[in-house]
Amino acid sequence: MTSYVTLPYPFEPTEAPPEYRGRPIIDPERCIGCGACARACPPDAITVEDDLQRGVRRVKLDVSRCIRCAFCEEACPAMAIKLSREFELATPNKEDLIQIVEIPLVKCAVCGRYTNATVRQVAKANAITTHLPQALREEMSGYVNLCDRCRRVRAASRIYESIPIFHKPSTKATVGEVHGSKT
């Protein structure tokens, strides 16, 4: 009987061991588009950009840049990105190695422009602040749907309203008026 030393690999399939660090894969069901992975990634294999025309945030993972350090998996707060055991990645075309996840952005409730938060980020923020007092949550919920500019305007007018010595009814401004559009 002959015994063979050589692995029959390309002719017969094989699997990587369980702790093998293969290509990372983003789970589009879980990703909230926070960009923590892009910050953690040492070679910038993950990039995040907002497409304000279409109103989506694009999380782009370029496996041909990835060194499989698992920093992204460490950083992800939604447990969305995971290193898989996939290793058969060779390809003649580098574009094949790109994964893009698009997550819708929130539309500003006042001016209608896209904000810099995704719909899922807001959902996540709501889910982890359930312990806050109801009044505070209500105050917060007035802000999460606004763009940066409207948020500042709202904060300013809320402060203005809360300080009695400034408060003259004739000069009181509302968010819509300051911004030039009524909601």
């Binding site: 690999y9 879980r30 041909s64 840049r65 580098k94 190695l97 819708p104 996540k124 889910a127």
Partner: protein
């Protein structure tokens, strides 16, 4: 590459690799992986080579050497194989002052084999693809996420605990360890005096496991869990009632 390749003679060119990829190439040539089955032969001069096996990012130092090696190859088929993330795109060195990027900045690449370093099977897969034994398995994906997000009840607590687990457990086992602890917590909260019974459950777990590290993590998480509860209490977050509810919901 119009015609099918049969046996490729390769010249190994290191343009600035950290040597990780070169070691893997060495591995591929050992009898265990035996790339010579696929017709690959390592040659000592680019003049004899059909293919250039490039590892490492394209550095300024090696730019002209790589160019010369490519020009010294016979005019056809002049295949370039990029092995490793560095050769594919510059990898971890991509923004270094002395690095141009991947080898594709200089030469037309026929096959990219990413990985840092790629395991020998990955390199074999790449070569097998060159000689037409297998087809590529990856393709670009663009996924549009739906606006809904699945969230768990008590998400905040589990996230805080995960943050604590991060301090002592590596990424590979973290979720598993955390899930074990989660089950202990939910079990304890179906009982009278959950804190005491959680302590007992952790002790029980420690006596059953033969891995002292797991025992340490569980005890650590237990103390952190109590701290988190205290902290929640200060911010008027009455989590214990919610935990009890959730525990009963799961138990029934």
């Amino acid at each position: 590459m119009g015609r099918k390749l049969k046996s490729i003679w390769v010249f190994h060119l290191n343009t600035g690799a950290c040597n990780g990829c070169d070691i893997e190439i060495l591995d591929v040539l050992t009898p265990y992986y035996d790339a010579e089955r696929l017709g690959v032969k390592l040659v000592g001069s680019p003049r004899h080579a059909d293919a250039l096996l490039v590892t490492g990012p394209l550095t300024r130092q090696t730019y002209y050497a790589a160019k010369k090696a490519y020009e010294a190859m016979p005019p056809s088929p002049r295949i370039v194989i990029a092995v490793g993330t560095c050769a594919c795109s510059g990898g971890i060195f991509y923004d270094s002052f002395s690095v141009h990027g991947g080898i594709d900045k200089l030469l037309p690449v026929h096959i990219y084999i990413p990985g840092c370093p790629p395991r020998p099977e990955e390199i074999l897969f790449g070569i097998a693809q060159l000689v037409g034994l297998v087809n590529k398995k990856v393709k670009q994906v663009v996924q549009r996420a739906s606006p809904e997000l699945k969230t768990e009840p008590l998400e905040r607590l589990w996230l805080d605990l995960r943050e604590e687990t991060r301090r002592v457990v590596g990424y590979f086992d973290r979720d598993e360890v955390l899930n074990t602890f989660k089950e202990l917590v939910l079990k304890a909260y179906t009982r009278y005096d959950p804190r005491r019974s959680l302590e007992k459950l952790v002790d029980e777990y420690c006596s059953q496991t033969d891995d002292p590290r797991l025992c340490f993590v569980m005890k650590y998480l237990y103390t952190r869990f109590l701290d988190i509860l205290e902290w929640y209490k200060k911010s008027h977050y009455n989590i214990e009632d919610m935990l009890r509810e959730e525990a009963w919901r799961r138990a029934t």
